[in-house]
């Protein structure tokens, strides 16, 4: 993943008279933004989503409550940003990994979903609660919110891209148009499995992910398992 720390900032010994570099402000904003998301997620995880206030988030992040609103409209907004980051992170984990360039579809999809789960792992309790919360039709986290739909669309477009680059279209079976819908349901299934997996180090989820992708991908490419 491309991150902020790539620009040079080793000139601290010499006092500078010029204005800070143009990227500096944006960089600072990025740092604060991340701090807010991280603090919020920690609170969601420990105190619960419903009881966490933006005030508490600000306190934890060490900033004024008003500052939070410079970045986010609400705590739902923060949660959504986190999920967007999670998807970005997972896509990058597949895209930017040179080892996966020639890997079979199965392995790419494994890396995609596994990266998501790894990203979510520190906030497991919150993820479980968020899934329930998302069932509320009025919720901003719900499947009907515009941003959530956009995010899902981006995620599934990437999955479709992976499927298509794995083989020329005509080689896929007639059911390949089902892929995005089916994969979304599959992903939610994996998420639920993971949440309820009480095995040590969630080893069962790993096995389940591996085996189910194995079956799924061969079904997709051969039209039969």
């Amino acid at each position: 993943m491309a991150t902020k720390s790539s620009s040079t900032s080793k000139t601290k010994s010499r006092p500078r008279k010029t204005k800070p570099a143009p990227g500096k402000r944006a960089q600072n904003k990025q740092v604060i933004r991340r701090r807010i998301v991280k603090s919020a997620l920690n609170l969601f995880q420990t105190k619960g989503f419903a009881t966490t206030t933006t005030k508490a988030i600000a306190r934890k992040a060490g900033i004024a409550e008003g500052t939070v609103f410079n970045y986010f409209r609400s705590k739902e907004d923060i949660a959504l940003s986190f999920f967007e980051e999670e998807v970005d992170h997972a896509i990058a984990a597949v895209r930017d990994n040179p080892r996966l360039r020639k890997a079979p579809l199965e392995e790419k999809l494994f890396t995609l979903v596994h990266s998501q789960l790894e990203y979510l792992a520190p906030y497991e309790r919150f993820i479980g609660a968020a899934l329930i919360h998302a069932l509320n039709p009025a919720s901003h986290l719900g499947p009907f919110s515009h941003r959530v739909q956009q995010l899902r669309h981006r995620y599934l477009a990437f999955v479709t891209e992976l499927v298509e680059e794995s083989a020329p279209k005509q080689q896929h079976s007639t059911i390949s148009w089902l892929v995005p819908e089916a994969f979304w349901i599959y992903y939610l299934g994996v998420l639920l499995f993971w949440l309820y997996d009480s095995s040590e180090d969630k080893q069962h989820t790993l096995a389940f992910l591996d085996r189910s992708l194995h079956v799924g991908v061969s079904f997709l490419t051969n039209g039969r398992p």
Partner: protein
């Protein structure tokens, strides 16, 4: 590696499905569950729906390695399968599904904290061998040592636990009738759970590396603890060929005799001298060389004998007198008495018959007989199975004997495949 058609697994699958129809006992079900699917698969099933179901089942079975091993061990007790089949089964390896490089990386990172490429100077992402519960990769350490890294498929421990839960349920009637003693299931579960912890295997490697050093023809790997955990085991590379590869090179009779002799020597040195033995007779665990040396790998299943069991074995082997004598009876009884049991008449008869009709032939007790036993004729296997079946049917077999019988079967099977001629008694006598 051998062509797919010829893998021991395939052969065993075919053989098992042939034999499984022969009798309708509880264990038929257990044997069938992991195996019969393949034969059914030969028939073309038309509807996609059925095919999906079948594939799912095959996939789940792929995770069911432990159940297979279980059926394999217990198949020794039932006598429902022909002798050669059981011998094949005894040396069959339980295989976990293969892992792609990304899963390998995840598994290593979770277990050792870093990805294999960070840990080793060189790491081959493709495995070079399947292992029980996982697969083996070649690597080079930062100290430029060539090593084999065994990595476990996720969730094997839980799979073993679940398999046993299932197994205990379906065998309730067989347990009640005494056909499958509860103690035997407990023993198996304990052993198989132990196999899922590679740290215990590293302990075994260290033990055998030290204690087998008097045998110059045996090579045992060295464990690398700093690169090992419960799910990853790093050990030095051991050279050699699997039995099938070895036989494909058409080794001379002399070499096969020498190797057979060394294999038997290795077995009885462990059994009678160390009182502990490598109890996984899968032939992939024995690497054979043209100079008649043996590389020993996969120490997941090692068994220790109790002192009284060891004493019993020493007394009973090569017993010189009549095996119908009161003294021989006392020896047989001693093993049961030591465990607070009585030797039932049926078990006594079966043991005497076993000693007479199998052991006396293969291990003649007379001191002047240095004749080599020829393992190329399979009659001895049939004899062994017939006698073992009689014994197991009495339902009074010591649980620890399960593992010994399995290893012994594996050894005989290898000797048969080698068509080796071995002076069995001379070897045993060295360690009495």
């Amino acid at each position: 590696m051998a062509a797919e058609e010829n893998t021991p697994t395939r052969r065993a699958l075919r053989m098992a499905s042939m034999g499984a129809g022969a009798a309708g006992r509880y264990l038929t079900y257990i044997l069938q569950r992991p195996f019969v699917g393949k034969t059914a698969g030969q028939r073309k099933l038309k509807s996609t729906h059925t095919r999906v179901a079948r594939r799912m089942r095959d996939e789940m079975q792929a995770l069911r390695g432990p159940a297979m091993k279980l059926g394999q061990t217990l198949s020794l007790q039932t006598g429902i399968l022909p002798a050669e089949t059981v011998a094949e089964l005894a040396s069959l390896q339980m295989e976990a599904p293969g892992m792609h490089p990304s899963l390998v990386r995840v598994q290593v990172k979770r277990s050792l904290g870093r990805e294999p490429e960070e840990i080793f100077e060189k790491f081959t992402p493709e495995p070079f061998a399947a292992a029980s519960l996982g697969q083996v990769h070649e690597a080079t350490t930062r100290e430029h040592k060539r090593v084999a890294v065994k990595i476990q498929y996720p969730g094997m421990r839980q799979t073993v636990e679940n398999d046993f839960k299932w197994f205990r349920t379906v065998t309730k009637p067989a347990q009640a009738s005494g056909h499958i003693p509860k103690a035997a299931i407990d023993e198996l579960e304990l052993q198989m759970l132990a196999e899922t912890d590679y740290r215990l295997e590293a302990d075994n490697i260290d033990f055998f590396r030290e204690n087998l050093s008097p045998l110059s023809f045996v090579e045992v790997p060295k464990s690398f603890r700093e690169y090992s955990s419960d799910k990853v085991l790093t050990m030095s590379f051991v050279r050699g060929h699997h039995l099938e590869q070895f036989l494909a090179q058409k080794p001379s009779q002399k070499l096969r005799d020498k190797l057979g002799t060394n294999l038997v020597d290795l077995f009885y040195f462990q059994l009678l001298k160390l009182g502990a033995f490598h109890a996984d007779p899968h032939w992939g665990n024995y690497l054979l060389n043209g100079d008649a040396t043996i590389g020993l790998v996969d120490f997941g299943c090692a068994k220790k004998l109790t002192p009284h069991a060891l004493r019993y074995l020493k007394n009973v082997f090569l017993y010189p007198g009549s095996r119908h004598s009161p003294e021989f009876r006392r020896i047989l009884e001693s093993n049961y008495v030591a465990q607070g049991k009585k030797l039932p008449a049926a078990a006594y008869r079966a043991l005497v018959s076993f000693a007479e009709k199998f052991y006396r032939n293969v291990y003649p007790p007379e001191r002047n007989q240095h004749e080599r036993f020829d393992f190329s004729d399979k009659t001895f296997l049939t004899d062994y199975m017939r006698e073992a079946t009689k014994l197991f049917r009495t339902k009074h077999v010591m649980p620890e004997y399960l593992f010994m019988a399995r290893t012994e079967m594996g050894l005989y099977h290898t000797l048969h495949a080698l068509k080796a001629r071995v002076a069995m008694s001379d070897i045993v006598r060295k360690y009495l």
